[in-house]
Symmetry: C2
Subunit: 454 residues, 2 copies
């Protein structure tokens, strides 16, 4: 095994954006000698102000380092950094480590060894290690790291990765590219859940429910997700400084849809989410926080979700603020349950095409941004195709699939009767109908929604 | 056979809207004694001005008539007319004919005999006879009439129906309700084609093509439809006085989606079209012309399709106005081809659930508002499940399905790269991917897109 990168080692860190800055700071705190690089003067000055050292060219960044960390926004930035004249390939010392934290198409990572070889740099030890946990995770050194590459290379980076991640949150998924594949699955769910949060809160609003109280009740429900808790709050607080921008999800959902195209897997959920982010970008909001997608719906329904006009407070005792049974809240939760269930199934189908073990996918996503109540309950039985009620699948209603479907038919009508074009819900509902006729005898679990892909 | 309604007979006509007025005028011209009724004073005054006679109550409308024509907007208006005190059921002479021209849910017509019996009016001779052809067809007495009911009842109305329809355009589809079923299939296509027209013209615009020239070239192409020719012109001319309003298609696509729910048929195309009309209604444009859906897309892309900023004129010789090969125009046509192909397949699947003969569906829609180049080419082979190239199916490309699909994958990426959320195209593309894996060996025709519903 090659000597590992130890504390006191010299590292380069390229890409001091909101994620990269936090990670580089944590590496500094852990005792590494970190030189930062970013084309933005503002980013460099911030890093200096907080105690870092910067380089103004890639060549000086790479001088005498043992490892270079890369946290750029897209393949084109990565290409520039690596392959431009006087870039990393031209200047990094022999046998250096190169840790790519960015979320890039898996094929980019898979093709990189050949591209490095073509420029005579097969000596560079490459690690595919995208992260999950957002700016907060980066700042707190509490990221999940999703690794593809050799065991040896991973072992030699162990100290570096530990400095930026939460305990026990480094997952080795396989060879180069498999880290990015796993990240893609997590992003699939995270991206869909952002749009789902916007649709659920909009549905609550058009039915006259108070958004903030609905938010708290959804958190305890089958319609909850990590993203709903996080981005739902941005939506309620109209908090748009970008933690993660709309443009990021245009890219990441694009990676998902490209993969789905390559493998000919229908992905109506992911593509509706992509089109929602795309619309947000087309309207000029690409650099705003991804929670800004709520405004697409607000614009249609003609009111902000937090506006107090004619709102009922859903109550925890099954009655709303007028003392009436809280059917509306139940319907919002059912609405969200279907969307998250269908997203889980679509993710499970994509996971099969990727060739990752369902156990690893489950362990990782359960603790990452893609997690949801539906994912927790149904992913394992979906992966095993265990759709009968006595195989451990959890039903959401006593008589399972059929009753679930008839609720959703009613809710779909309800949604259009309120003039809400909930396209994510509709995509999920069409999947449910498609699964209905393809189910096999005895498959009464709602997890049988996965039969859509039969 | 009961005596038929002859010229000189006394008729009542309830509902003098843009359709009803034209039809009532043609009945007058044909020599019938027509009394009109409408709750709107404006509508009544117009009918009087043009030579008609009006009643101000339903009871006076029904006095001494032999037949009553009904052309109201929705089931609730029909209910009021029929079942309110002093309504048709209370006042129409025994054994009168009742011709319902409105587009209503098929179940409404199917349940009407029992409802009439329940109020002691089984004597009323009911005809389910929705029409196609729009305001122009109504004005010119050139409608298509789509009949459900007994042969006897149809025969006794023959002269009345001929006075408002084009030659050879009265189609008897079966029992009560089957006229409405057939109309539903026609509306499915017509409604989808309106949104398709908006998406095609928007796609052309974002790629820099001149909208008007693109329009003319699409008319000659595989992406053409009756609706595209008609509503495309409204879109280009920004001509919004309602020939048929957005609200009408919210209702009619709702009828389609309700039927698809009842029969558990996934209908991603119809439901995306419904949500587009729904969004238009939510934005306050329900009473505008249905072509107004173009503004939903214009609002997103930030420009009117007819704006002349940076447009290329696609040329008929395969080169555009800069003398370059006209790849963009080809791509717009491919885009529209897929949407119309998928719509044809979805319509074919719905037709099967309805139980209408494919020949009747084909004959009727071929000459009605739902027709398109794709419908003409592919509906018959879809109905026969004839998807191999040697069974008479027409391919759109030499190597059929696979090449078609790879074009569409490219165009889907192209669309999102221009930040256009073309949700109808995306729904069609997901159907194509779903059909891909379900095709049987040798099914190389693009008509095999119908395997999505396998």
């Amino acid at each position: 095994m090659v000597a590992s990168v130890q504390s006191q080692s010299r590292l380069g860190f390229a890409g001091l954006g909101s994620m990269g800055h936090g990670m580089a700071m944590n590496l500094l705190s852990a005792g590494f000698h970190v030189t930062g690089f970013d084309p933005s003067l503002t980013a460099r000055e911030r890093f200096i102000r907080e105690g870092g050292t910067v380089a103004t060219t890639v060549a000086t960044l790479c001088k005498d380092i043992e490892a270079c960390m890369v946290m750029v926004a897209n393949p084109s930035q990565a290409d520039g950094l690596l392959f431009d004249p006087d870039g990393i390939c031209d200047t990094i010392p022999r046998s250096s480590l190169l840790c790519i934290f960015s979320t890039l198409p898996p094929s980019y990572l898979q093709q990189l060894p050949q591209r490095l070889a073509a420029v005579g740099r097969s000596d560079i030890r490459l690690l595919d290690c995208p992260v999950s946990g957002g700016v907060i995770g980066a700042t707190n050194g509490a990221l999940t790291i999703i690794v593809g590459g050799s065991q040896d290379t991973l072992a030699s980076c162990q100290h570096v990765l530990e400095a930026v991640s939460a305990p026990q949150r480094i997952f080795h998924c396989g060879d180069l590219g498999m880290g990015s594949m796993m990240k893609m699955l997590n992003q699939h769910l995270a991206g869909v859940h952002i749009v789902a949060a916007a649709e659920m809160l909009s549905f609550a609003k058009v039915m006259g429910l108070d958004a903030r109280e609905t938010y708290h009740q959804i958190l305890d429900s089958q319609a909850s997700s990590w993203i709903f808790k996080d981005r739902g709050l941005h939506m309620l607080d109209r908090d748009w400084p970008p933690a993660s921008a709309v443009d990021i999800f245009v890219k990441d959902m694009g990676i998902v849809c490209d993969w789905a195209d390559k493998t000919s897997v229908p992905c109506p959920i992911a593509s509706q989410a992509l089109l929602c982010f795309t619309e947000c970008k087309a309207r000029g909001h690409g650099r705003k926080d991804d929670a800004y997608v709520i405004t697409i719906y607000e614009n249609i329904i003609g009111t902000q979700i937090t506006a107090s006009n004619g709102t009922l407070a859903p109550g925890r005792n099954g009655k709303n603020s007028l003392g009436l049974p809280n059917a509306q809240l139940d319907d919002v939760i059912k609405y969200g349950t279907l969307v998250h269930l269908a997203a889980t199934a679509e993710c499970c189908r994509l996971a099969e095409t990727v060739g990752l073990s369902p156990e690893v996918v489950y362990d990782l996503i359960s603790g990452a941004a893609g997690s949801s109540a539906q994912f927790q309950d149904h992913f394992p039985s979906m992966a095993e195709r265990a759709f009968t009620s006595d195989t451990g699948a959890v039903d959401n209603s006593p008589s399972g699939f059929d009753e679930f479907k008839s609720h959703m038919t009613r809710i779909n009508r309800l949604m259009t009767s309120f003039n809400l074009p909930g396209r994510l819900f509709d995509a999920a509902y069409q999947i449910l109908k498609g699964a209905h006729s393809r189910r096999r005898s005895g498959e009464t679990s709602v997890a049988a929604i996965m039969r859509f892909w039969t």
